[in-house]
Symmetry: C3
Subunit: 148 residues, 3 copies
């Protein structure tokens, strides 16, 4: 759900880590989480409806995610990416690419897409399906679910 | 735990969705989450003690929950409710009513109530019990627990 | 993950509550969560590298955690601690001490430590090990995992 840079790092670290040791991993992106799977990784006026377009512009994509603490107007995610690269730690883009490569399943929340005026084509092709939360709950039955 | 508008939407969407497919659902409201089950859905000076009353006034109830991102001084939850109604998506009030109607069990956290100076009568009658976290953990044993 | 005062309260309440009824409890501290287990509970320039030192100073330790809502520049956690003591509710320090005494296992996230330039000696001796997320996932297999 969260569209924070640091929480997105947590999502894709957990997902790629679990997929690497052969767990089946399903991620359900809802609300601000949808920002992470937009085709457009920067800011753009996506969506239908005036308010939806303003919201989507302000929210941006995977490369404009804010830090949940000490964001400093977007400077901190840039600094942190630099710190991660400088120390040879996987960056958000690396973790995102690894999750895709390791076969993590991406699902987009139908309701949140509807509210934000987004359609399937606003998202990367790796998104496997558009689902309601009830379908996702069924799919997750018997596994572990984390809310991030 | 969270008293954000968007996270409350997530709580009641998951709860009503799971209850609709016959899961037993228990919600443990603690800290800011208690705002969602106050009888008074607006701002009021609830609680015992000067600080508690100030905190409760600032926190408000279910109709004054802020958005976790882009809140714009409380304007965004209003806009978002409008967007949801305009698109025939269930609003927070709808999801809350559905959760109650589908028999989701509401529990209030004893410790947080004590700290915030709140009593049983500050909450809606549908709250089934006031519990400590240990009792809730026991109740949840064998099920899935999400922290929201 | 969170370094909020209120979420830290939730972590150590759940941990000590579960440990008290004989669950095995493992906490994986990552990102801002690492602030809770620093030896230095106040603000200090820990870490290697200029940026890491600035970040760590701003983040501080267990006694400078901010409230996730209505923080008022750090005043609220102080007020809330006072409210908790006044009502004989366990404070963050009490819950932290109880978690240690009840044998809750503390683990620090290797990757986050690396990014923030922190080493094992920056943390309290009760930290059992420094782990990657994959090792922690394996350790948690068969149990419940909450993301806080």
């Amino acid at each position: 759900m969260s569209g924070d840079f640091d929480r997105a790092i947590a999502v894709f670290t957990l997902a790629s880590g679990a997929a690497a040791v052969n767990y089946e991993v399903n991620i359900f992106f809802t609300f601000w989480g949808l920002n992470s799977i937009k085709v457009d990784t920067g800011r753009s006026f996506l969506g239908k409806g005036f308010l939806a377009r303003i919201f989507n512009y302000l929210l941006g994509g995977r490369k404009t995610l804010p830090l949940s603490r000490l964001n400093f107007g977007g400077l901190s995610p840039v600094l942190m990416n630099g710190m991660m690269q400088g120390k040879n730690v996987a960056t958000l883009e690396d973790l995102f690419a690894a999750s895709k490569a390791l076969g993590v399943n991406f699902y987009a929340c139908e309701m949140a897409m509807h509210v934000l005026g987004l359609t399937r084509s606003d998202f990367i092709p790796e998104v496997k399906d558009v689902l309601g939360v009830a379908s996702f709950l069924e799919m997750s039955d018997g596994g572990q679910t984390l809310f991030i």
